[in-house]
Amino acid sequence: MHKQKGMTIIAICVFLFLFLPLCLIVVTSFGTAAAIQFPIKGFTLDWYAKALQSETFMSSFKLSLIIGGLATLLALLIGVPAAYALARYSVKGKNLIKSFFLSPTVIPGIVVGYSLFQFIVIQLGLPVFQGLLMGHFLISLPYIIRVVGSSMEQMDYSIEEVAWTLGCTRLRAFIQIVLPNVSSGIFAAFMLAFVNSFNNVPVSMFLSGPGVTMLPTSLLSYMEYNYDPTVSAISVLLMLLTIALMFLIEKTLGLASIA
């Protein structure tokens, strides 16, 4: 395809538009002034220290990791076999069931959070943690079904059938033959779902309580009353984590698999 000057200029402007604001955050995170300003006067790492030492942020970071990990794992436990069943067997109403599993994507996140809050926390009186876990499970499941589902559909099942003829039980064949061959799909789905859960705001907003707050929520609360470079520092740290994650994915799967 031919490149044209006009397109190239627009494309460059778009990429600048996407990245300059993030660069701005990086720069302001080193400023010495109490409020965020640009250009910065002085250079300090104090804000990073403050962020890493903050009890609130660290505990909410830990919680985000725990919930993200648990919810995604649960989604994998439920979703991988389900994706397998839908791909492998001719299930009546397959499309309906698949759409049902993907339905959380159609419901606005804020509505999911709200209805879960009303039902789980208020009416059932369950602890917020369980509510958070279920909420994040719900938003993670579609990624598993979609990504692992596509891997399952592309697999050549004759290797499974050969295993059966050699004396393998169905369960064993599933674990030893099928799973290893869709492992890249599972890993990609896990990464996508985990990142999505970690970054989620609407569900976490509703389902938070004293001592049970996710990182984005605690960030938002902090920002309500404070406008200092602590937020910039945390942002930079999170961006570094994202870059590390992308490296990890590129080395194992190639980023193309989740794009």
């Binding site: 031919h2 397109m7 538009f17 389900a82 339905s103 606005p108 709200y114 009303q118 609407p202 920002m223």
Partner: protein
């Protein structure tokens, strides 16, 4: 036993979804629609009769539409550019496009507070240049929400469009050029029409995304310029008005579904022209 195995496997997922998604939704929305046996739309009629509510509703739809249009206008040239570069650069550019998508929306909206705020980059620059003397109120405006939402969803639109444009064969464009079309003309007559389905898919994602996003309207619109999502949150938590919140929730679901159905049917009509390889 054999025939029913798949049903047992999908059962746990279905049960969990029913219990933790469907049930809560019905629990919240049912009371707004039904009083005993009778269906009542009173709650909804009242909602739309209130001019404040209506203004929030239209603002949400309007902003979503504007954001979608802007992402299309910016996304198409960028995606075309990315689809046309060699493999190595395409990987790099796609990674660069993917990075913002993996970054938290709080961070991405926060970036614009830094730029649009009273002591932000824009105001500081304009005051320094002497163009204005008082900082402009750029935050907590619809403009801010639009910019922030475009920032949020542009990568999504770009990635969707690149996927489509990569399937357009280079030889088709070369054929157009041998027939006398200039490179720009070939772009308009060949690439654009063939990108329509991808544009529609991207539009669904961007429109519904902007419609239902919470972080960006909250940080950049605040209480002055509310969208349906921030309004819902306010009703539910600050005001404790469960009924209004549920009404909003249902409206948001319905609007999302209508938009998806509408755009999907347009996509199907366009696809009738068959966009396979010739």
């Amino acid at each position: 036993m054999n025939k029913n195995v798949p049903y047992f496997i999908v059962a746990p997922g279905i049960i969990l979804l029913l219990f933790f998604l469907m049930l809560p939704l019905i629990n919240s929305i049912w009371p707004t629609l039904f009083a005993g046996q009778a269906v009542m739309f009173g709650n909804y009629l009242d909602f739309f009769k209130d001019s404040y509510n209506l203004s929030i509703f239209w603002r949400t739809i309007r902003i979503s539409g504007i954001v979608t249009l802007i992402t299309i206008l910016l996304g198409i040239p960028t995606a075309y550019f990315i689809a046309g570069v060699n493999k190595k650069w395409r990987g790099i550019l796609m990674a660069l496009t993917l990075f913002p998508l993996l970054t938290n929306s709080v961070i991405r909206s926060f970036a614009w507070i830094n730029i649009l705020g009273k002591s932000g980059v824009v105001n500081t620059l304009l005051i320094k240049l002497g163009i204005i003397h008082q900082p402009l109120n750029l935050l907590y405006t619809e403009f801010a929400i639009i910019v922030g939402s475009v920032y949020l969803f542009l990568p999504t639109m770009i990635m969707t469009l690149v996927g489509v444009m990569e399937t357009i064969e280079g030889e088709t464009l070369e054929a157009a050029e041998t027939l006398g079309a200039s490179p720009f003309s070939a772009f308009c007559k060949i690439v654009l029409p063939l990108s329509v389905p991808g544009t529609i898919v991207g539009s669904i994602l961007v429109f519904t995304g902007t419609l239902t996003a919470y972080t960006t309207p909250q940080l950049l619109g605040g209480n002055q310029k509310m969208m349906m999502s921030t309004f819902l949150y306010q009703k539910a938590t600050t005001l404790g008005d469960w009924n209004s919140a549920s009404v909003l929730a249902f409206i948001m679901i319905v609007v999302t579904l209508i938009v998806m159905k509408l755009l999907n049917s347009i996509a199907k009509r366009v696809d009738r022209r068959e966009l396979n390889r010739a």
